[in-house]
């Protein structure tokens, strides 16, 4: 649960940069009121919630079909965690090198068309013992990533956007490192315990 939340928290800034700015283009212009943004945001988060619910179900069913024995169940996700975690760190470093206009981050992310955090949570969902555990993993991921969207209605009034962006970039890198360790633990644990 902790790692899903951390992953959500770390990727939330990226979600905000990719989805947030695309879904709410008027944010940058500052032309919409708090109420309008709050309504649109609620709809957006509800849609995300439903999509995650579906993804949690699909990931778990695929996991049951693919990870048939305990060795595979530890080693394959371990490798996947490491690969995606490296990508997450790389993504964080990449974001750090491109300061300035948020629109530029959108371009960068869209050009890559890849969200490592989503793949990590899909891997996690696929390796859970029960469907409800998969739902819980996605739910905590959803909560973590949604935290970033909460100040959105007040976006026009937030003066320290650069600071929030910096914290987001660092959180992404940190989550990458955490999942790298988790991947290594899974991999070594799988090999040691057979």
């Amino acid at each position: 649960m902790t790692d899903s939340l951390i992953l959500g928290l770390s990727s939330g800034s990226a979600c905000l940069a990719t989805c947030g700015m695309v879904m709410f283009p008027y944010l940058m212009a500052g032309s919409a009121g708090v109420k309008r943004i709050a309504v649109d945001l609620s709809l957006f988060l509800a849609t995300r919630f439903i999509i995650y619910f579906i993804l949690a179900t699909l990931a778990w069913y695929f996991g049951q079909a693919i990870f048939t024995n305990s060795l595979v169940r530890n080693i394959v996700p371990g490798i996947l965690y490491i690969v995606f975690a490296v990508m997450l760190v790389w993504y964080s470093i990449g974001s750090g090198k491109k300061p300035g206009c948020p629109a530029r981050i959108v371009t960068t992310v869209n050009n890559r068309r890849f969200v490592p955090a989503l793949f990590i949570i899909l891997t996690k969902g696929a390796t859970q013992g029960t469907l409800s555990q998969s739902y819980l993993a996605f739910l905590t991921f959803f909560i973590g990533s949604s935290v970033w969207f909460l100040p959105l209605p007040l976006a026009g009034k937030i003066h320290k956007r650069e600071v929030i962006k910096n914290i987001g970039i660092l959180a992404t890198g940190l989550a990458g490192i955490i999942f790298m360790i988790k991947g290594l633990t899974n991999l070594i644990g799988g090999i040691v315990n057979g």
């Binding site: 939340l5 660092l170 633990t185």
Partner: protein
């Protein structure tokens, strides 16, 4: 003639500093001896007197020399090493190991440390539960006394707690003084926001899991206090993380950069304390009219709290821990301790004396127990 004037000036300054130190001497005597000194154990008596003298000589020298950081650092570093020594010695005596078992966890026998506080706030507010397996009101390092101490110190000193009260800060402060010149001179300023990223993650993950996640996975000071017994791949991975972070952020990077990198780039409590700098009455001020923009203060700052832009703007950032290193580095006395509401460049001496009295007294009272215990034990070992 000049020499005699100089000597008489020094004499005057000596008596003035001694007079200023008198309240400190009385208060520390009361706290260190408990008002009734017991000299039945010679080792304890020697340790007690030595610490009492050390504390008061350091305070006297701060006033007499006008320098702050070098004397603060002596007690601060001693405090960190002594506390770890005392804690490890106690654990080895009681448990015969530095690791704690599941039974210790279940019986709430883990000593509390202030780094847990950021993780405790949300669970305590929403569920009225304390997520740390320690004793609430009784025993060594209990939760309530530590929280009260931290709140009091933070309200008064702000992030000054990190340089005058934290019993871990002395580790990287100590290592940051090993080299005379830094090997790594420039670090991306983005990193100074890392403690906020860590705070965000540990506070929310602790609220959701009801576990002190920072202690579980990230705290480098587990290396010099206590840690989970290595019984699985996961606990081995945790031990690896603790050792790597301690080696990297507390030893190697401070030596290479001459900065307190653990405090600057990891500590979530440092992030909370930075925010508390907004409410504390004490601050560090820059007198723009006296500043020659030599930026020696920027170079001296151990926490990356001061940038050239800050100096040009005439104010220090929220990351300032009021250690006094920048104040000591400024030959023009343009940067000084101040009180909010009083303009920069005025009442410098009054502000400094007031701040030093409060902060040093806090550190002296807080640290003396651990240093006395360490010294007493070392004396017993040697003789």
């Amino acid at each position: 003639m000049d020499n005699s004037l100089k000597i008489s000036g020094m004499e005057k300054s000596f008596w003035k500093s001694l007079l200023f130190s008198l309240p400190m001497i009385l208060i520390t005597f009361m706290f260190i001896t408990g008002g009734r000194p017991n000299f039945s154990d010679p080792y304890e008596a020697i340790a007690l007197l030595s610490v009492f003298l050390l504390v008061n000589i350091l305070f006297f020298l701060m006033h007499f020399s006008g320098k702050t950081d070098r004397y603060r650092a002596v007690l601060f570093i001693l405090f960190a090493f002594s506390l770890s020594y005392t804690l490890i010695r106690n654990m080895l005596e009681i448990r015969h190991s530095m690791s704690f078992s599941q039974a210790d966890l279940l019986e709430c026998k883990i000593p509390f440390c202030h780094l847990v506080i950021p993780m405790m706030i949300l669970p305590a507010a929403f569920t009225k539960s304390i997520i740390f397996p320690g004793s609430i009101i009784s025993g060594f390092a209990n939760i309530s006394s530590m929280v009260v101490l931290w709140i009091t110190a933070t309200i008064v000193l702000g992030r000054g707690f990190c340089s005058w009260g934290c019993f871990y800060g002395g580790w990287d402060d100590g290592f940051s003084r090993v080299r005379k010149k830094p090997v790594i001179k420039k670090i991306n300023s983005l990193w100074k926001w890392m403690p906020f990223a860590v705070l965000l993650m540990v506070a929310l993950s602790a609220a959701l899991t009801m576990l002190p996640t920072y202690c579980d996975w990230l705290c480098p000071f587990k290396t010099v206090t206590e840690f989970e017994k290595v019984t699985s791949v996961e606990s081995a991975a945790k031990a690896g993380v603790f050792l790597t972070l301690f080696g990297g952020l507390v030893v190697v990077l401070p030596v290479m950069t001459r900065k307190r990198t653990q405090c600057s780039f990891l500590c979530p409590l440092g992030a909370v304390n930075s925010l508390s700098n907004k409410i504390t009455p004490f601050t560090v001020k820059i007198d723009k009219t006296a500043c020659t923009q030599c930026f020696k203060c920027v170079e001296a700052c151990p926490l990356y709290a001061l940038t050239k832009e800050d100096v040009n703007a005439g104010k220090v950032s929220v990351f300032c821990s009021k250690c006094g290193k920048c104040v000591d580095a400024c030959s023009k006395k343009a940067i000084h301790y101040g009180i909010k509401g009083i303009p920069a460049g005025t009442m410098k001496s009054f502000s400094r004396n007031l701040f030093l009295f409060v902060s040093f007294l806090f550190m002296a009272i807080f640290s003396s127990g651990a240093i006395i215990s360490t010294l007493q034990n070392l004396l017993k070992l040697i003789f």
